[in-house]
């Protein structure tokens, strides 16, 4: 490994490290596993240390999250190639196409997921990352576009689609609907 300069280390410590929780949270929701998330974040930190010179002051959060996301996609290509194949750019169509859904995704689509966090876990990658960045990390559309590497219009449509899928959960339906369904059954 090449030697990292002291100024890079100091910069990493003062500007990047404060976002370690955000990085871990993103990685945790992307990998859906604690140990895997740690691997991804460690890899991301190595990269961040190496490239901290390209960081513009003040923009550390989206910058670091972009690196985490890239590290994740490299990790997933190595470790779970199936997932990425099932989740390519045409996932927007897949999300509405019954045949293309995994059992968990199908549960969300039918509104069977019991907990909101289960529903989020089961969302296809593209929508999951959009929801996590927006609702948990509270990134602006512009920062999201930067992290996801897509235009703002695409950010908006992914968010809308992700939210629509989450809203299908039964507990999110208006109360009187649920009561009526219970009575009928």
């Amino acid at each position: 490994m090449t030697e990292i300069s002291l100024s890079a280390r100091l910069r990493f410590e003062s500007e990047v490290l404060p976002h370690l929780d955000a990085a871990y949270n993103l990685a945790r929701w992307l990998t859906r596993d604690g140990d895997d998330a740690e691997d991804v974040v460690q890899d991301a930190c190595m990269r961040a240390l190496r490239y901290v010179g390209t960081l513009r002051t003040g923009g550390a959060r989206p910058w670091f999250l972009t690196i985490v996301r890239n590290a994740f996609y490299d990790w997933v290509a190595r470790n779970r190639p199936v997932e990425i194949a099932a989740d390519r750019a045409d996932a927007i169509d897949d999300a509405t196409d019954l045949d293309a859904l995994s059992p968990e995704q199908e549960a969300v689509r039918r509104g069977d997921a019991q907990l909101l966090s289960d529903a989020l876990q089961a969302l296809p990658l593209q929508f999951r990352e959009a929801i996590v960045l927006r609702e948990l990390e509270e990134l602006s559309y512009r920062d999201m576009a930067h992290v996801l590497g897509v235009p703002i219009g695409t950010v908006m449509s992914r968010l809308a689609r992700g939210r629509a899928m989450l809203r299908r959960m039964p507990s999110l339906q208006p109360v009187h609907d649920v009561v009526q369904t219970r009575r009928q059954s």
């Binding site: 410590e13 740690e38 948990l136």
Partner: protein
Amino acid sequence: MKCDRVRPLVEPYADGELPAWRRLLLARHLIACPACAARLEETRSLRDRIRAEIPRFAAPESLRASVMAMAGGPSSRASSRSRPDYRWRWTAAGALAGSVLTMFVLFAGNAIQDRRSNEDLASVAVNAHVRATLGNQLTQVASSDQHTVKPWLSARLDYSPPVRDFAPDGFPLVGARIEYLEGRPVAVLVYRFREHNVDVFVRPNALRFGLSEPKTIRGFHVLRAEGQGMDWVAVSDAATEALAPLLRRLAEGS
């Protein structure tokens, strides 16, 4: 405006991402159109539920430690046997001076901002409390011993909040964790009161919590007190009358 043209704008509106003139147009439409207004309400309530029910995972200590080591954190730097290098010292002194200045600017800026975001703080604190309860992550350090909890917090914050156990008064200390409020780490002392969990957010007076009077949000009570150079905010589903004595003891240090 027509509904089908408005619909795609409702979520960006809820996200606060529309420019002012479009926001105005949309606000007018929302008054006249129950369907679009309902959609807005749906978007907002989904967001509230996501923030309340979905845990935001915090980096485990093991990860933080290994990353610190990777970056040549304080421990590994201290153990290196190299003779003193004055250039390094100057760099460090410069960085320190810079961060002191930054902290000062942040403090001053935040004091002003806090006053404006008055109402938000209570709901942010409640959301943090609910998230921690649901995610079963109330404490990152679980101990009723103040001599364990206090150093744990000091090591992770740029201030050192007073920590005391009030078990004899019915408020046993359970532990503590760190939350991020307004982008900054804040100490949270966790107490029990009968069957209730009580979160107490503590930060220095200079960073006052913007909360002028007690509030109740979704059945959670939020109270604030000042004392010992700190600002204290308690969040719990226990009754306000029960929380007040705990907060008073903490703030008065008695």
